[in-house]
Amino acid sequence: MPLLSLVIWLPILGGLAVLAASRHTTDANIRWMALAVSAVTFLVSLPLFFSFDNSTHEMQFVEMASWIPTFNINYHLGVDGISMPLILLTAFSTIFVVAAGWEVIKDRVAQYMAAFLIMEGMMIGVFAALDSVLFYVFWEAMLIPMFIVIGVWGGPRRVYATIKFFLYTFFGSVFLLVALLYLYFQADKSFAILDFHALKIGIEAQILIFFAFLIAFAVKVPMWPVHTWLPDAHVEAPTGGSVILAAIMLKLGAYGFVRFMMPIVPDASFELDWLIILMSLVAIVYIAFVALVQEDMKKLIAYSSIAHMGFVTLGFFLVFTIFEKTGSIQGAVLGVEGALVQMVSHGFISGAMFLCVGVMYDRMHSRNISDYGGVTNTMPVFAALMLFFAMANAGLPGTSGFVGEFMVILSAFQANFWYAFLAALTLIFGAAYTLWMVKRVLFGEVKNDKVAELKDLNAREAMILGTLAAAVLILGLWPAPLIDVMHATVNNLLEHVVVSKL
């Protein structure tokens, strides 16, 4: 059964069906329909995990069909240990996005739901694509629904934020396109990503391609200093948009690093890994300070996302230093796996944090920290959950936030003490900005009448946040299944990456 195609096209067609149905049915039915589509998609994606063969790095569930023979472009899908968990994460998150928009979105419900469902299919397409044009098509097409979501259902400065978001990411990706075209001719007219991996390229070309990839993926991650679109987009986006941005879209950039940059231009990456490590460390340290001073909760979490994604890119690019030092990739495997765990974990945690802010925003219509205080008195259940997610965000052991960060820091020690030192600072800073926000928002005296009138979570909200809390806890206590899935692929990737392709 073409499982991957099903997971990609089911939500896209479901989204179109939702749009088509909107004329003939009520908004309530539309919501249930969207929820059903997203739930079925998640169920359909589960076999990807359960029938996955952990022992091999080869692509699985491969589908191949000729698409545009003139350019040798194929509809080529497949997953390995890196992309499979991210597909599940996407399918999982979309359910919460649909549920989170249940009551808040009253205007153009069908378009809202359809945008997220179509976006889900496209994001899964990015993770599953093994043909670079197919990858690029999904990668770009996904911007369209997001552009609409932020622009239509966003906050007061939504137009500025969404155009900035679109142009930033579009600017990044066009360089990717030129690089892919160059590789296409180098690979003897093939767009297959795996063919690119095997390609021998001279160092000068590698460096140019490296920068093309860097622009494309760094904007998406986003890395300092091209991160400025993210806080704007997050602040203005509706809750669902923020969740998808943080949980999935940022992962796409990181995914690009491991799928394209490291295996295709390993020598340039070897030469220039200091640049990425530097950018990552700046993100971890400097952005943490920026997060500390934010007045707006969503902005604070957005900056915290940038800092956490800094961990991911750091984890990826430690391999070259470690290999140079020890001559083995063993220490680096830990770093890359940590980074990948961090990606999944950050998907849960940041998604949950944005949902928490959304819960408060729906009641108070404010995201300013100063408007809150003593929320725990009126919303005890909510406060408990939000505190839990905040702790996870700060990397508390036992939560998923700890696992990835700890693995990356351990790995960083093998590369360079100062990398590890700076990276470890984030545990302190992360605790500082997250917990300080929590203190000001949740604890203390009841700040004003509005807070005094707050109602605690309803069943829907409790269900969403409760499930995410369970996911964070399970991944934190027992990350082994996830790491097992990745292990063979990561080993293979790193063995490949340390071999020169000149």
Binding site: V133, E140, I144, I148, G151, V178
Partner: protein
């Protein structure tokens, strides 16, 4: 020298169209305004008949007739079919528009059909004079069409500008052709090509001729720095006429480029390549940057056309058969997009309201989600975002350019396409993010709505499955 009767068969579509123009002209004389749709239907029938004939007389190997002046080949057939198709769509889109403004006259259809005839002659020309003949038939018809609404000051001004600048361009082209004739002693493309092959390559007259010919071509295409007429004419002409000017004539201009530069002067590729690079770079930069400052959507789309011409030239610059087929794919994709874009303006307009300001698109998503969706597809396609046909068009020309080793040109083109994305996004912003100011229901004929939807969906469909069209373009230019 014995007189030989030429083989008329390859030129049957042209002969048919010419005959039908005369028929339409005469029939229209005897019609009252009430029965004017007979003229309309006859015109559509003419296009349909020409399409059928073109398919019947198509030939897989180039077929020459009239002493080698006229050629019937695969590229010609495909381009002609798209010329008929786009003209037929133009007729459907403009019918109501013209009726509402009292311009629904026989002249419009006769002139448009004359223009079609001119384009057909250009597409099939294998001789400098025949190219010029076709070009003038097309141009004269278009000058008159722009001035069709003679009570409008803007339209008359636009027509005047168009005529004067067009005449200068024709003069340049003709001057270049005369030099070419002086240097090679022939007007025949095939003979010119073989002369250049054998002759000394540093013939200064040839290069001079080339410069003038390229200037003439650039004028007709609207490439920077010979683009000044484009925004004024697009803006000044009634939208239905703009729609016509922007679509099919670009296909004919592409054919002219292919016939003159590639088939005739292919031996001078080293020289015209550099000139076209300058034109392409300037067009892409100026078109995209100036479009940002426009508040009138017709002017904005005019500048967008200029940048598309720049992209189209990229394919020719590559100088490979894959480049030419990429350019051909681009021009067809562009035609579909611009038809839909200008068609949407007509759809929103009504008597006394032109809907040609960007603000007029405000809140379209509330007024009509379906057509807002269609315009969304068109705008993203023009910006080159997948999954729309505009993406593959750009992909194809860029891949041809990268293949030639001009990676810097590809980088420059994509960077400016990002800048260009801004003004397309602004249209979407008006449609989706702003509230409607004008809540008049959108009323238009069913045929227009159906064709408009088909047009938009085709752009999307070709974005998901472009295989057939790409293969077609490659096959006829192989």
């Amino acid at each position: 020298m014995a007189f030989e009767i030429p083989n008329f068969a390859p030129a049957l579509p042209e002969i048919f169209v010419l005959t039908m123009i005369c028929v339409v002209l005469v029939v229209d004389l005897f019609l009252t305004d009430k029965n004017r749709s007979i003229t309309y239907l006859l015109s559509q029938a003419t296009l349909l008949g020409a399409a059928v004939l073109s398919v019947i007389v198509q030939s897989s190997v180039p077929e020459y007739t009239f002493g080698g002046m006229f050629v019937n080949d695969g590229m010609g057939t495909v381009l002609k079919l798209f010329i008929y198709l786009s003209t037929a769509i133009v007729f459907i889109y403009s019918r109501e528009y013209l009726i509402e403004r009292g311009l629904f006259k026989g002249e419009y259809f006769v002139l448009a059909l004359f223009a079609v005839l001119g384009m057909m002659v250009m597409v099939s020309a294998n001789n400098l004079l025949v190219i010029y003949l076709g070009l003038e038939v097309l141009s004269l018809a278009m000058y008159a069409m722009v001035a069709l609404n003679r009570d409008s000051d803007v339209a008359s001004e636009a027509a005047m500008k168009y005529f004067v600048l067009g005449a200068i361009a024709s003069g340049m082209l003709l001057y270049g052709m005369s030099m070419l004739y002086g240097a090679t002693g022939s007007l025949d493309h095939t003979a010119i090509a073989s002369f250049i092959q054998q002759g000394s390559s540093d013939d200064i007259v040839l290069k001079f001729a080339l410069v003038f010919i390229i200037i003439g071509l650039a004028f007709k295409l609207g490439a920077v720095p010979f683009h000044m007429w484009v925004p004024d004419v697009y803006h000044g002409a009634p939208t239905a006429i703009t729609l016509f000017i922007t679509a099919a004539p670009k296909i004919a201009a592409f054919a002219m480029l292919m016939r003159l530069l590639v088939e005739g002067l292919g031996g001078l590729i080293d020289h015209w390549q550099d000139m076209l690079i300058i034109l392409a770079v300037l067009s892409i930069i100026a078109g995209n940057v100036i479009a940002i400052a426009q508040t009138n959507i017709k002017r904005m789309l005019a500048y967008s056309t200029i940048s598309h011409v720049g992209f189209l030239l990229l394919g020719i610059i590559a100088g490979t058969s894959s480049g030419y087929s990429a350019a051909m794919f681009y021009v067809i994709a562009y035609t579909l997009m611009s038809l839909a874009g200008f068609g949407m303006i007509i759809l929103l307009s009504r008597n006394g309201f032109e809907a040609d300001k960007l603000e007029d698109f405000k809140g379209l998503n509330q007024r009509s989600p379906w057509f807002a969706g269609m315009m969304l597809i068109v705008m993203f396609s023009m910006a080159g975002v997948p999954p729309t046909v505009g993406f593959y068009a750009k992909l194809a020309v860029l891949s041809a350019v990268v293949d030639t080793g001009l990676v810097w040109l590809a980088v420059l083109a994509v960077v400016f396409s990002v800048i260009g994305a801004f003004y397309y996004l602004r249209v979407i912003k008006y449609m989706y993010f702003d509230d409607a100011v004008d809540n008049t229901p959108i009323s238009s004929a069913y045929d227009m709505r159906a064709v408009m939807s088909a047009n938009g969906l085709l752009i999307l469909f070709l974005g998901i499955y472009p295989t057939g069209l790409i293969a077609l373009c490659t096959a006829v230019l192989a």
